[in-house]
């Protein structure tokens, strides 16, 4: 039996959606139990009516807009802090929340702790690819500034995650840059390139461009968290722009409206692919237990998948594999 803690108050969609996702995860995985973090009046009825759901009563909630470090320091009874503490105490094997990314980062770094030898935890996600091959992208924003040593660790951690989460045998790694040629890049990217090349025994395959992110060409793409955050949010914004334009067209013409209606299932599935609902969110790599961060505008499906991905990471010993990868590389 694997126990994970799920933050019932995370995300902008309301706790009902999160609880529905937990219920679905429990139904799908009979070897899973969930520690549900939230106010007593919300979680008690849920835990009473669901097997393998246990309450973790919390009296505070960190809101999306709060300053992460300040909120984590002052709200010790919040679902995010208590959830991370439950992992440290061994009451749970992993943590899932669709709450504030910044607050989860701070609380998890403080309370779950880093794997020995890991310089910086990184935020990774498996983004879809045109070819069907998914690409693990990191860092998506945990670290705005990243040293050469840390970028090499990101490559190792990304490879370990690609193996565990996607079942890739020997994942390759590319560096996000402003051109494929080795000579392309900012001073920072050129340094990263040299460090990755030096560290690689064949897995580093050179520079990737922005057009490669959703092309399914690489198993892992690494970059600093500033660039990764810009790229991930640009994907999100572009998808939103296109969907908006299609909606405008359907409002302007009956022909387009009919087309959009017929295409709706296809458009919805692309939107879901890009929203992260399918893969359950982003994972913080480098910590002593799996911590998964769901998209703020979450859905029951995203919560279910996030919880199941978290359980899978526990069962397949993601943390042990990352520890091995980092240690072997040192």
């Amino acid at each position: 039996m694997v126990t994970i803690c799920v933050d019932a108050m995370g995300g902008d969609s309301g706790y009902e959606v999160v609880l529905e996702g937990i219920a679905e995860a429990l139904e799908e995985d009979s070897q899973l139990s969930v520690l549900v973090a939230g106010p007593d009046n919300i979680i008690a009825p849920f835990c009473d009516s669901h097997e393998r759901a246990m309450p973790l009563v919390c009296t505070e909630v960190i809101e999306m807009g709060e300053h992460p470090a300040t909120a984590v320091r002052s709200k010790k009874e919040s679902t995010i802090v208590r959830g991370c503490v439950s992992v440290r105490h061994g009451d749970a094997d992993g943590f899932f929340s669709a709450g504030s990314t910044g607050a989860i980062l701070v609380a998890a770094s403080l309370n779950v702790g880093r794997i020995k030898g890991v310089k910086r935890p990184a935020l990774a996600t498996a983004i879809p690819g045109a070819t069907g091959r998914k690409t693990v992208m990191l860092d998506m924003g945990a670290n705005a500034d990243v040293s050469n040593d840390a970028i090499v660790q990101f490559a190792h951690m990304g490879r370990a995650y690609s193996k565990v989460a996607l079942g890739v045998g020997a994942p390759n790694v590319a560096l996000l840059s402003n051109g494929e040629e080795e000579s392309k890049g900012s001073e920072m990217a050129l340094d990263y390139h040299r460090s990755l090349k030096e560290a690689s025994d064949g897995w580093f395959v050179g520079n990737a461009e922005g057009t490669d992110l959703l092309a399914g060409r690489y198993d892992v793409i690494v970059c600093d968290g500033y660039t990764g955050n810009v790229a991930v949010k640009t994907i999100e914004g572009t998808a939103k722009f296109i969907v908006g334009r299609v909606k405008d067209a359907t409002a302007a013409s009956k022909r387009s409206a009919a087309g959009a209606l017929l295409l709706k299932p296809a458009l919805k599935s692309v939107a879901a692919e890009l929203s992260g609902d399918e893969y359950g969110g982003a994972v913080l790599l480098g910590l002593k237990a799996p911590v998964i961060i769901g998209h703020g505008a979450t859905s029951a499906l995203a919560v279910k998948n996030g919880a199941l991905v978290c359980a899978r990471a526990v069962r397949e010993n993601l943390v042990g594999k990352i520890a091995d990868a980092v240690q072997v590389a040192e």
Copy 2:
């Protein structure tokens, strides 16, 4: 009468497409004449049969894959080098090419020359926005590393371009970063933020995120060329991914196929908006004459619009306005 030079050999779509675009531009603008750069056998028949088209015979072509600096140095008779030289000699008032961005950057910097006081030319483009408001984005990749002084100049140049090309009265400027809060950013972005804030008399409005690029929230968004290039190519890749997924769906289901057929005009118009065909390409700001770079996979429409934007920049004295903006700011 404005004379611009157009590279007949630029782009991956063949010279026929470029010549068609030139013909359309000449037809639309009776006060425009075009110096057509290309091999004699291609351009002579075109110039013979079109009024206000004059030949600039070139015996070499720089291919898309060539190393920019090497190609510009060795191919003095290429359309790109000769085109830039024609501007320096005053035979043309501006230059348009859909050829290698890198080679045009090098050739234009060498031959057209920088405006006095401009530290680095920057590649700018007006990207569409959900609200209908367009956003001038720069640098899209001319400079992988950008100093604090240069980013402030980019803001001034972007504002001048927004006024001339989009008619915005008092353009505001945001900095691309990994969060809206002032505290967010890499060390580089935090430095940029401070410099922009210091230089601004009200036009700097803070950080923008990747989701803002196509949202039509800001008049100008500045960043270094490494990040800008990643962002622009991520937009391109995301659009391609979504179009591909819609195609997959139409192949898999008759319902989706019917929907896609009905929605085709709408989808095509979004694709055109994002491809840059409508705004004619990217413009190199900071040079002594307008130099416009079209998308490699160009269309006749893109060439036509690129030529017309170039002519408009000449007529509205974009260069003088940038010179003023940069000088006033010093």
